[in-house]
């Protein structure tokens, strides 16, 4: 009886150990399974997490199909992965798990953080090859891919912020449409005039979750006032003092004093866009990627550059990127080839139209596909022109944490739970901490 019991215990222990081994094995097998590691025969298979849906996904799928047809030695497996908002988390988990895709869509602010991974490809050498035509990328797009002087990503999408407004609501209220060269005071007054709480109509909107969508709208204001995201070589917050205070105060006055701002408390700001697209919001600061939805909703809209605090009409461009990961030499070569092909002008034009991006390359703008699109879509030219006055966020590892601290402050002034000075002080303190911890 005793021995049998002991034998059973031994067996259970054995089973446990076996399972542990299996699980551990699953967890860390990186490049030894599927997809032709490098042994020559058969096409190399690479996995692509594009993070897109709707028209952007459709455009990508047709491009991938064309690539697979024209490159018999490479098979690109296109998957959504996760929608772009949560691709960073998913990519991190995938890297930790050891089984990760070869190419992933990433928001610009995450590039520096992901570039710390030893699996993230360094493309500095590769893009020197003239076939990349790297110099054709717009400077803002190039900047978003550079971390510590190295190329760690490929431009994927470029936008700029401008104000899309609802012509019908302006007409109905008898308010003159906004024009380039307007100021934030004009913006505030217009928003107040076009707010009608009885009809559930808002002058404008601002995301109130406190994430990056809340934060990036602040930077143009700060830049226009002579401040910056960071100062002193990325060691301190650059928006303390007058620039930050005036920006925070403006937001506070519009949201709390005037009640002309719809504050979207859901992640992704879908509600805010939904309200605009149902004729219940007069003006929305946004990127060109919103236009396809607005057109589909049948909104009579116009586009005007961001208002300004001074004579500087500075706006922001938030470029996104493709990040490439190392799954062995053959796959790395294949994925680099694919990324290059995807961003060449002919493909770029098609993708830009589908994704609502502006052209990544100067040469893309000359493509017939883009020209036709640009002529068709009302207001697109305003976004393209705004690129000239656009700046980008710094690509530093500490940015997401800086953004979090700043976002908390913006939400406080939006909801009126702190006065602008107090909220700004806390945001600056958090940003300083984030930058010091780097």
């Amino acid at each position: 009886m005793r021995t049998r019991k002991r034998a059973r215990i031994a067996l259970v222990a054995l089973l446990t150990a076996l399972v542990a081994l299996v699980v551990a094995g699953c967890g860390s097998s990186g490049d030894d399974d599927d997809g032709g590691g490098g042994s020559g025969d058969g096409p190399v298979e690479i996995t692509f997490w594009h993070g897109q849906n709707q028209t952007a996904e459709k455009a990508l799928k047709s491009l991938v199909a064309r690539f697979n047809e024209s490159h018999p030695d490479i098979v690109v497996k296109a998957e959504t992965g996760a929608l772009s908002d949560s691709l960073y988390q998913k990519t991190t988990a995938a890297l930790a798990g050891g089984k990760y895709p070869d190419i992933v869509y990433q928001f610009g602010p995450n590039v520096a953080s992901l570039a710390r991974s030893p699996k993230a490809l360094d493309l500095t050498e590769a893009v020197r090859d003239p076939s990349w035509r790297w110099d054709e990328f717009y400077p803002a797009a190039q900047e978003a891919t550079m971390v510590d002087g190295k190329v760690r990503a490929v431009p994927a999408l470029i936008d700029s912020m401008a104000v899309v407004y609802n012509r019908r609501l302006f007409r109905e209220a008898g308010v003159a449409e906004p024009r380039a060269g307007w100021t934030w005071d004009d913006y505030r007054a217009t928003a107040r005039q076009l707010t009608d709480s009885g009809k559930g109509q808002f002058g404008t909107g601002w995301p109130g979750v406190g994430d990056e969508d809340t934060v990036w709208r602040l930077w143009p204001m700060v830049w226009q006032l002579g401040g910056d995201v960071t100062a002193e070589d990325n060691t301190k917050a650059g928006f303390s003092g007058e620039p930050g205070l005036r920006a925070f105060t403006t937001i506070n006055e519009m949201a709390v004093t005037d009640r002309s701002v719809y504050i979207d408390k859901t992640a992704g700001s879908e509600k805010m866009i939904g309200i605009f697209n149902s004729n219940r919001m007069a003006m929305i600061p946004t990127g060109p990627w919103q236009l396809p939805e607005t057109i589909e909703a049948g909104i009579d809209y116009g586009v005007v550059p961001l208002p300004s605090f001074s004579d500087r009409p500075t706006t922001i461009s938030g470029p996104d990127t493709w990040m490439l990961f190392d799954n062995g030499e053959a796959r790395a070569r294949a994925v680099t080839e694919f990324a290059k092909w995807l961003t060449l002008p002919e493909q770029d034009a098609e993708w830009d139209v589908g994704a609502g991006s502006l052209p990544l390359r100067t040469t893309t703008a000359a493509q017939p596909v883009w020209r036709r699109h640009s002529a068709e879509v009302e207001g697109l030219d305003v976004f393209v022109a705004a690129l000239e006055d656009a700046r980008v966020r710094p690509t530093i590892v500490a940015y997401p944490r800086l953004s979090e601290a700043t976002g908390t402050g913006i939400v406080e002034v939006l909801l009126g739970s702190a006065d602008p000075q107090a909220a700004l002080d806390k945001a600056v303190e958090g940003a300083d901490e984030a930058l010091a911890g780097d």
Partner: protein, 329 residues
């Protein structure tokens, strides 16, 4: 099962007289027992449970003592640093506070509400079957959906709730844009629907109520007890074990609150509705694996304390009952 099979041959051997024969058992039998195939049957379950439940438990314990950066792929031993950092972290302490407030409101309200509803559903009235079915419907609503729904209804700017208040001539409420109200709304949402809502408690209570023999209540009323007296002397004691179970269950559910928060406030505004499990989720999402694992273990510690309290309470009650009634099983 194995003991049943094992008894067969042994008794026959004895009946044939003499000592049991020194039957030589094969290697397989010696290791796997007399029913080796049974192991085969349970192997898949063992693999799944060990692999998906037991290994991660120890793995995350290990993680909680490490400072792991999954992106840069660096791991260093942190000892108790993660725990220390958590206890010093205002955000974590806030999360604990929100969880306690939520649980403190949610548990008694859900149990009292459930009891009331169960008593109503235990009445003999026409169409009671339909009422009972309808009362169960909220249990099957997904908490995430529920969260989204509440965030739409109680949106302070476009929600129906404020529209209604306006129609009634009352001033608008901040609802989800005010931290305190947001937490209260989450309690309300938790009571309203989901796997541990009032209806769930009512179903459990109803089952217990229906187990009470009618003779007992009838006897009590013949003895002159009014309805309150019957409730106190007959119904309440019969419901005690179920109530203890519900207390424990609802407390665990309260501490583990996540999906409602995820679906509605995402922890906002500010950090005012971040509860501990949401805090863990956020830590892991931000790749702070060590902190997240340490926080999980602190929550487990809290749950163990709750379980011990419940167990101790029952022991105490049993002993008291035993002392009062003489011999109890």
């Amino acid at each position: 099962m194995s003991t049943v099979f094992a008894q067969g041959p042994r008794t026959t051997a004895r009946r044939e007289g003499g000592a049991p024969p020194p039957r030589r058992r094969g290697l397989v039998e010696r290791i796997f027992g007399e029913t080796p195939s049974a192991w085969l049957y349970i192997a898949p379950a063992v693999v799944i449970i060990v692999g998906l439940a037991i290994v991660p438990v120890f793995w995350s314990l290990l993680l909680s003592f490490q400072d792991k950066d999954p992106i840069a792929e660096t791991t260093s031993w942190a000892g108790l640093d993660n725990y220390r950092e958590l206890l010093d972290d205002d955000a974590f302490r806030g999360a604990v506070e929100h969880t306690l407030v939520y649980t403190g409101l949610f548990v008694p309200l859900s149990i009292l509400g459930g009891l009331g509803l169960a008593l109503l559903l235990n009445k003999r009235v026409r169409f009671i079957g339909i009422y009972r079915t309808l009362a169960f419907v909220p249990v099957i609503v997904s908490a995430t959906v529920q969260g989204v729904l509440f965030s739409v209804i109680f949106d302070d700017q476009i929600g129906i709730a404020n529209g209604l208040l306006d129609k009634l001539g009352l001033g608008p409420q901040p609802f989800f844009s005010d931290g305190r109200q947001a937490l209260l709304l989450l309690v309300l949402a938790g009571l309203w629907a989901g796997t541990s809502c009032i209806s769930f408690c009512a179903v459990i209570f109803l089952a217990a109520l229906q187990d009470i023999p009618r003779e007992l209540t009838e006897a009590a009323s013949i003895d002159g007890a009014r309805s309150w007296g019957t409730f106190k002397a007959v119904t309440a004691p019969a419901l005690l074990p179920v109530t203890v179970f519900l207390l424990l269950w609802q407390t665990v559910q309260g501490i583990q609150l996540f999906d409602l928060v995820y679906g509605s406030t995402a922890g906002g505004p500010g950090d005012s509705t971040v509860v501990v499990v949401y805090f863990i989720y956020r830590s892991i999402r931000e790749s702070a694996y060590g902190i997240g694992a340490a926080a999980s273990y602190l929550v487990v510690g809290g749950l163990v304390v709750v379980a011990l309290l419940a167990w101790g309470g029952r022991k105490l009650a049993a002993r008291r009952a035993g002392a009062g009634a003489g011999a109890a099983a």
